[in-house]
């Protein structure tokens, strides 16, 4: 944990979770690991918020959950993107890219 941790921008968590699930069904812990490792620990995301996000997405109809076996053979709850979830990911990705581009533009601009 040598690098300074960044606070997560509001609404960014959803896009990260959706992205994690875009490779296939994952259980909650795998999603947490994906985000932690993918960002090299740059974000300080509380795992609890992650689970809340997952359940909310299920309620919103973006993911479906089912109980299955983890890699080590334990009972775990898996989440899988459905069509609506994939559409949501696409929309959020675009928004995110626009946002990054806009911020970048401002950072490069000079008065």
């Amino acid at each position: 944990m040598s690098k300074p941790e960044l606070d997560l921008l509001l609404g960014t968590l959803d896009v990260l979770v959706l992205r994690a699930l875009s490779f296939g069904p994952l259980h909650g812990y795998a999603v947490a690991r994906f985000i932690r490792e993918g960002s090299d620990g740059a974000f300080r995301i509380l795992d609890g918020a992650l689970y809340t996000a997952l359940h909310r997405m299920e309620e919103r109809g973006w993911v479906v959950s089912s109980w299955g076996q983890s890699e080590k053979g334990k009972r775990a709850k898996f989440y899988k993107l459905n069509a609506a979830g994939k559409r949501a990911l696409k929309a959020q990705e675009t928004r995110w890219a626009d946002y990054v581009a806009a911020v970048g533009k401002v950072m490069r601009a000079s008065p």
Partner: protein, 887 residues
């Protein structure tokens, strides 16, 4: 509960898995177990908060999912039911229509009851409003308030916030454009608008000082009157001439501002003008009860407490108001205050009629329900094989019950919707044909309550029908064992059906009997001799403006000229006037004392007095049974005469000669009986004749009374006396253009109005009975014909074994008549029990009338025989070969 726990286990299992995995991974990286745990905890955040958040989300999700599943299930059930029903359109049509009629009838009558009897008065504090009046049990009468009494109450009564006082009357208005118009007037005191929470829409209410002394010449006009008579222009501050006096218009009343009488009688009693009611406290109290009082009970004071307070005041009237009330008067009349809740007074006795009608249509609904229940049973029988097969194929009892419920609910809700439409149409018709005497009728319409009732009824009926046993679980296997072979109907189901039909006939009987006695009493009434002519008699009202007609002599000149002008018209044989007409009711009474009564103890009586002009008796065809009635010549000569009704003369002077007897009417002067008039019905045709005293308008009676309001009667030889109205109007204009002719009516219409309430009730009850009869007949027909078709095989065997066709026919007819007889016997029982509810509406016939019962029984047997005849004929023609082959 278990499901919730399971839910929580879900969340807990998910979180547990997370922690185990995280700790395991951290331990693998070399952390101690303890440190790993702490790190996993801190990475997670507040476990408890997250957990309860997750549980909440999951609970929401599950609930929504369950609802969606249930909805899908219901929709599927409904789709199935709709498909099944579409396959039997005859069944659908019969059940829906029958039920819709029943539900519609109940809804319409309930809507009427709701508007008239159940809904509150249109005053915000209606529950605190009471009519303040007097009861006089000694002379069996009810009197309004007197001026002295009211002023005393205002000073001393503790039970009221205020007492509103008013008096209605009529006047002649001349607007600035010069046209004369008749106006209904209410003299109101300052407190009345406050008590009833009424207010002007423009301008202002009366001020305290405007009701002092003679009363200020200010007037508040009703919006409708402003439109119709004043031309709808801006009227505030302008003036109008009321009975010759100029009044300033200070306010306008919206048309929904109504006094209790207007609420009760609707548009026909609209008040056009409000004028301040001036009460002079300096004048000595009088026994003159003409003011209508409405009190607002003080918050928290009961009607009983307020009454007790008034009673203690009234008991001391001989001391406190000695000029008006003597000890003897109090003792003889039993004079006491009376408080009646305003709602009860406004609704009057008509809620009784409506409740009876509501009862009648409920019976119709019961009959239709029995009928439809039968149809459902028949249908269930027809589908037993299908049900059995479905059971065997794995459909659970719950599934079958749900399907049945979906079907019945679909039928009944359809019927409910159509019923509401029928009720709406029915109520519009009801308002059209209803007589004018029914209070609050204009408010009748489809109310939220009645719609709720219709929907509730259809739901309940649907659920009950849906839960109706359709053979039971055990029966299915038996049916299957029989492999659908059944030669005839099982005894149990036949009994249920026959009982339902018998019940229909019994209820039908009760309704028909009720309608029957009402119709008989109607017939009795139309046969009553009213004691006066009605054919070809025209009546109209006049109000003379007081400045032009300052005294009795001036009015007499006008009346005489008018009578002579009208009498001279072609086709007219007599014309005259009186302060009241037969069947019009007689307002108030006047103290009358015979000077030499047959019974020396006979004191004064408060009697209805009608002021008349010559021509009144002739025009109405009221016989003078002894002596003579005055003519204009004798009137001008100044003889002070009185004409009592024959009943009154008997009452005062017994069998002795009443002619030339002296009576004191109101004032000190004596009048002498010049003749006796025939008794006649004065209030209504169904009450015994009232004793009346007729007094000519000249010479002026007690207190120099000047009669400026008169109902004129004209006897014509025309079939339609209203054809005379233009000629009368011309005559009136020639004599005095400032006097408008008001409310021309044929006397026959007045008689019809008097009987209209009974006619109305009888019509509606007859309609209900007719509906019941039709539905009942259809029920008998349906059940018998279904029985016949289900017994075809049995009948076929009988025929094959040598039964005669006539034998088969009497077998079927016999069963029909047996059911009908059982129903009729039950119906007689119910009629005897319920008879007393209609007793108060009857005239000349008892509620349990043997003749009516016999006729109704005969009618029902004929109808039952007819309904059974067609299936019986069909049974007779059953071909044994064909019938047996189809088994």
């Amino acid at each position: 509960m278990r499901r919730n726990d399971e839910r929580w286990d879900d969340v807990d299992a998910e979180l547990r898995f997370h922690f185990e995995e995280r700790v395991e991974e951290l331990v693998a990286r070399g952390l101690s177990h303890e440190t790993a745990r702490r790190q996993a905890d801190s990475e997670f955040g507040d476990v408890h908060a997250v957990r309860s958040g997750l549980v909440a989300i999951d609970r929401r999700m599950r609930r929504r999912r369950r609802r969606r599943e249930a909805l899908t299930l219901v929709l599927a059930d409904l789709r199935h039911a709709a498909r099944r029903l579409r396959r039997s359109p005859g069944f659908l049509f019969a059940t829906v229509l029958t039920l819709a009629l029943g539900i519609g009838a109940v809804t319409a009558v309930f809507g009427t009851v709701d508007a008239i009897a159940l809904r509150m008065l249109p005053y915000p504090s209606a529950e605190r409003l009471v009519r303040v009046q007097n009861t006089l049990p000694g002379i069996d009468d009810t009197w309004a308030l007197a001026r002295g009494q009211f002023l005393h109450y205002r000073e001393h009564a503790r039970g009221f916030d205020a007492i509103g006082l008013y008096r209605t009357g009529a006047g002649t208005v001349r607007s600035s454009s010069g046209d004369a118009a008749y106006a209904r007037i209410a003299l109101v005191n300052v407190d009345l608008p406050r008590v009833l929470s009424l207010d002007v829409s423009e301008g202002r209410l009366f001020r305290e000082e405007e009701s002092l002394g003679e009363g200020a010449s200010v007037v508040i006009v009703a919006e409708s009157f402003r439109r119709a008579v004043l031309g709808g222009a801006h009227v505030l501050g302008s003036t109008l001439e009321l009975d010759g006096r100029v009044h300033e218009i200070v306010g306008v009343l919206d048309d929904d501002v109504r006094l209790p009488e207007e609420v009760r009688y609707g548009a026909s009693s609209r008040i056009d003008l409000w004028v301040p009611l001036a009460l002079d406290p300096a004048e000595p109290a009088q026994n003159h009860h003409v003011f209508r009082g409405v009190g607002m009970l003080r918050d928290g004071i009961t009607l009983e407490a307020a009454h007790a307070d008034l009673a203690s005041l009234v008991r001391r009237f001989p001391e406190t108001l000695p000029t008006a009330y003597s000890d003897r008067f109090m003792e003889e009349t039993g004079y006491a205050p009376e408080l009646v809740r305003l709602r009860d007074e406004v609704v009057g006795g008509s809620d009784r009629v409506l409740w009876i009608l509501l009862g009648a249509v409920c019976v119709v609904l019961l009959i239709t329900c029995a009928n439809v229940a039968n149809l459902f049973l028949v249908r269930a029988d027809g589908r037993r094989r299908e049900m059995t097969v479905r059971t065997v194929l794995g459909a659970g009892a719950a599934d079958l019950a749900r399907h049945r419920l979906a079907e019945t609910l679909m039928v009944t809700s359809l019927a409910g919707l159509i019923g509401i439409a029928l009720a709406w149409a029915g109520m519009r018709a009801l308002v059209q044909i209803a007589p004018p005497g029914i209070p609050r009728l204009p408010e009748v319409g489809l109310t939220p309550n009645s719609v709720a009732l219709a929907l509730g009824l259809s739901l309940c009926i649907g659920i009950v029908f849906g839960l109706l046993p359709s053979g039971g679980r055990g029966a299915e296997s038996r049916v299957l064992a029989e492999a659908g072979r059944s030669l005839t109907l099982s005894r149990g189901r036949r009994n249920v059906r026959n009982a339902l039909v018998a019940a229909q006939i019994g209820l039908c009987f009760t309704l028909l009997a009720g309608a029957g006695v009402l119709l008989r009493s109607f017939a009795h009434l139309t046969a009553v001799e009213p004691g006066f002519e009605t054919d070809g008699v025209l009546t109209f009202n006049l109000v003379l403006p007081s400045p032009l007609y300052p005294d009795a002599a001036a009015t007499a000149v006008f009346y005489e000229r008018l009578s002579q002008r009208i009498a001279a018209l072609p086709g007219v044989s007599a014309a005259g006037g009186g302060t009241s007409l037969p069947l019009g009711g007689i307002p108030g009474c006047t103290g009358t004392t015979p000077v030499a009564p047959a019974n020396p103890d006979q004191g004064g009586e408060c009697l209805p007095v009608i002021f008349i002009t010559p021509g009144y008796f002739e025009a109405l065809g009221i016989a003078i049974v002894r002596g003579t009635a005055p003519d204009w010549t004798s009137l001008r000569a100044g003889a002070r005469v009185a004409i009592p009704s024959a009943g009154l003369a008997r009452y005062f002077w017994g069998s002795g000669d009443a002619l030339d007897q002296a009576v004191i009417v109101g004032g000190p002067a004596e009048s002498f009986v010049s003749g006796l008039a025939a008794d006649l019905a004065n209030d209504a045709l169904d009450v015994p004749p009232v004793d009346v005293l007729y007094i000519p308008i000249l010479p002026p009676a007690y207190g120099a009374i000047t009669v400026r309001q008169l109902s004129f009667v004209v006897k014509t030889t025309m079939r339609d006396p209203l054809a005379l109205v233009p000629a009368v109007r011309t005559a009136l204009r020639d004599i005095d253009p400032s006097v408008p002719l008001n409310r021309p009516q044929a006397m026959t219409d007045i008689v019809a109005t008097s009987m209209s309430r009974l006619t109305f009730t009888a019509t509606l009850l007859a309609l209900a009975a007719l509906m019941a009869l039709i539905v009942g007949a259809v029920g008998i027909y349906g059940v018998i014909s279904c029985t016949v078709s289900l017994r075809r095989a049995e009948i076929g065997i009988r025929v094959a074994l040598g039964a005669h066709a006539s034998h088969v026919r009497s077998l079927v007819l016999g069963e029909t008549l047996r059911i009908a007889l059982i129903g009729i016997v039950a119906g007689v029982g119910v009629t005897v029990v319920l008879g007393r509810f209609v007793a108060s509406l009857l005239y000349g016939v008892r509620p349990v009338d043997p003749l009516t019962l016999a006729v109704v029984a005969g009618l029902l047997i004929v109808v039952a025989a007819l309904a059974g005849w067609i299936p019986a004929m069909r049974a007779r023609r059953v071909d044994p070969l064909e019938a047996l082959r189809s088994v």
